[in-house]
Amino acid sequence: MNPQQQRVVSVIVNGREYTGTVPTRKTLADFLRQDLRLTGTHVGCEHGVCGACTVLLDGQPVRACLLLAVQAHGARLETVEGLAAADGTLHPLQQAFQQCHALQCGFCTPGLLMTLKAFLQENPAPTAEEVREAIAGHLCRCTGYLHIIAAALQAAAQLRGERA
C-alpha cells in the first residue's frame, strides 16, 4: 500500500467509531456515503456551493465534498443520521421542518439540518435575518426557503424551552 495514495482512516461519526482504508483522493462525502453507507449526507454540486453535503466536523459545519476523507482522520463527525435521539424521537429541528413544511424533495434537507444544529447552538435566539444568513450557504430549489426560516425559528423557540 502506497501511503500517499491509500490510507487507513478512523473517524467517529455520530458517536460511533469507523475505520476504513481509502484512496487519499476520496472525498469525505464519498467516504461517508459509499464506505460507511451513511447516505443521508447528499452530494449536489461537488464544488462547495449547494450545501447538500454539509456535516459537522468537530462541531462546525463544513462541506464534505471539499474535504478529503484522510483529512477527517481522528475527527468527530456528525451527520443527519445522528440528529434524532437514540429512541427515534425527532430533534426539534426535524419536528419543526415537518410542521412547517420546510422540505419538499428533501434532498437539501440533511445539510440544512446540520448547519442549523450548529447555528442554534451558537445563537439560540436568532432573528429571521440571522437565520437567512446562516442558511445562505444552502441551495434549495423546491421550497423558496421561507418555510425553512420559519422552521428554524420554531425549533429555536422549542430548544429554548418556549412553547412554539
Binding site: Q4, T24, H47, G48, R63, L67, Q71, F119, E133, G137
Partner: protein, 293 residues
C-alpha cells in the same frame, strides 16, 4: 467530478512541509482550507503530482496581537479571524469583509492565507490586505522573506510565491485612532464572489480633517488595486459628502477592468465609482463617531 490521483502528504512540521515543497517544486500543491483547491481538483482543472496538506501542522492556526499589530498564521481560518475579538476591535475592516467571503461553512475551513495565495481577482481579502497595508511572510528552505501586500499579487491566480514557498504569516499594522472603515460589494447573489468590491479606511485628524484615506478595490482588474488618485485628493482635506463624491469619481483613472460574462468593463468601472463613494462615505461617518467617542 472526482479528484485525479495524487500523492498525499500531511507533514507534521513546517520543516517537513518545506522539504516536500522543495522536492516537488511546481508539481506540488499546498492544501490549506481546500475551499478553492478542492473544487479545482474535483473538476480536474488541476492535477498536481503531490498534495501537501498543511492541516496537521501544529501552531499555525493563530490569531495573535503583537507589538507590531496583528499576526495571522497560515492556518488561521476565515471564520476564526472574523470572530476574533482582537480583529473585531482593532481591524474591523477585515471582519466586515470576511462576512462577504462565501458562507459560514466555507469560512469554517477556508484560511485567510489560502485566499491570498489563491489570488482570485474578484476575492475580497486581497483588496482588504492592500487597504490594511498587510505584510506577508513567505518561507521556504531557502529562507524567509516579507513582502508588502502590494507586491504580492502579480496576476489573476498568480502571486509572488515561488513554488517551494509557503505563505506563513500575515501581519497587519495597527490602525491609527479616529479611523473608520467600510467594506461593500456588488455581487450576483449573497456569498458569491464580488463583481466589484471596495474597502475604505478614513482617518481624521484632531480638527476633523482627513488625515489619510485608503481605498482598495477588487474585481476591477487582474489584481486588487489601491485608488491612489482618490486617496491623494482626500489627504489633508476637510470632508463633506460632495468632496467624497468628487474624489470617488477619480477612481476610474486608476482602473482598467475587463469585460466578462458577469460584467462589462464599463459597468465595473461605474460600480467602482459608486462603491468608492459609498464606502468612503460610510468610513467617514464611522471615523466621525470614533472621534466623538
Amino acid at each position: 467530478m472526482k479528484p485525479p490521483r495524487f500523492d498525499y502528504y500531511d507533514p507534521h512540521s513546517l520543516d517537513e512541509a518545506l522539504a516536500l515543497l522543495a522536492r516537488y517544486g511546481p508539481e506540488a500543491k499546498v492544501l490549506a482550507g481546500g475551499q478553492s483547491l478542492m473544487p479545482l481538483l474535483n473538476m480536474r482543472l488541476v492535477a498536481p503530482a503531490a498534495l501537501v496538506d498543511l492541516n496537521r501542522l501544529p501552531d499555525l492556526a493563530y490569531v495573535r496581537v503583537t507589538p507590531a499589530g496583528l499576526a495571522l498564521g497560515a492556518l488561521a481560518r476565515q471564520r476564526q479571524v472574523e470572530r476574533a475579538e482582537a480583529v473585531v476591535q482593532g481591524w474591523p475592516l477585515l471582519a466586515a469583509a470576511l462576512r462577504y467571503v462565501g458562507y459560514p461553512q466555507i469560512r469554517t475551513r477556508g484560511t485567510v492565507g489560502g485566499s491570498l495565495a489563491h489570488a482570485d481577482p474578484a476575492a475580497e481579502l486581497p483588496a482588504v490586505m492592500l487597504a490594511l497595508e498587510a505584510r506577508l511572510v513567505l518561507s521556504s528552505q531557502r529562507g524567509r522573506r516579507t513582502l508588502p501586500a502590494a507586491a504580492f499579487f502579480l496576476a489573476p491566480l498568480t502571486t509572488a510565491l515561488a513554488p517551494d514557498e509557503l505563505l506563513c504569516e500575515v501581519q497587519l499594522p495597527p490602525l491609527p485612532p479616529r479611523t473608520g472603515h467600510s467594506f461593500q460589494e456588488v455581487s450576483r447573489v449573497w456569498g458569491a464572489f464580488a463583481l466589484v468590491g471596495a474597502a475604505a479606511l478614513v482617518t481624521l485628524d484632531d480638527a476633523g480633517r482627513c488625515q489619510q484615506a485608503r481605498l482598495a478595490l477588487t474585481g476591477v482588474g487582474p489584481v486588487p488595486q489601491r485608488a491612489s488618485a482618490v486617496e491623494a485628493a482626500l489627504a489633508g482635506e476637510p470632508l463633506d459628502a460632495e468632496r467624497l463624491r468628487q474624489a470617488a469619481a477619480l477612481v476610474e483613472q486608476d482602473l482598467n477592468p475587463e469585460s466578462d460574462v458577469h460584467a462589462s468593463a464599463a459597468y465595473r468601472r461605474h460600480l467602482a465609482r459608486v462603491l468608492a463613494q459609498r464606502t468612503l462615505q460610510a468610513a467617514w461617518r464611522r471615523a466621525q463617531e470614533a472621534q466623538k467617542a
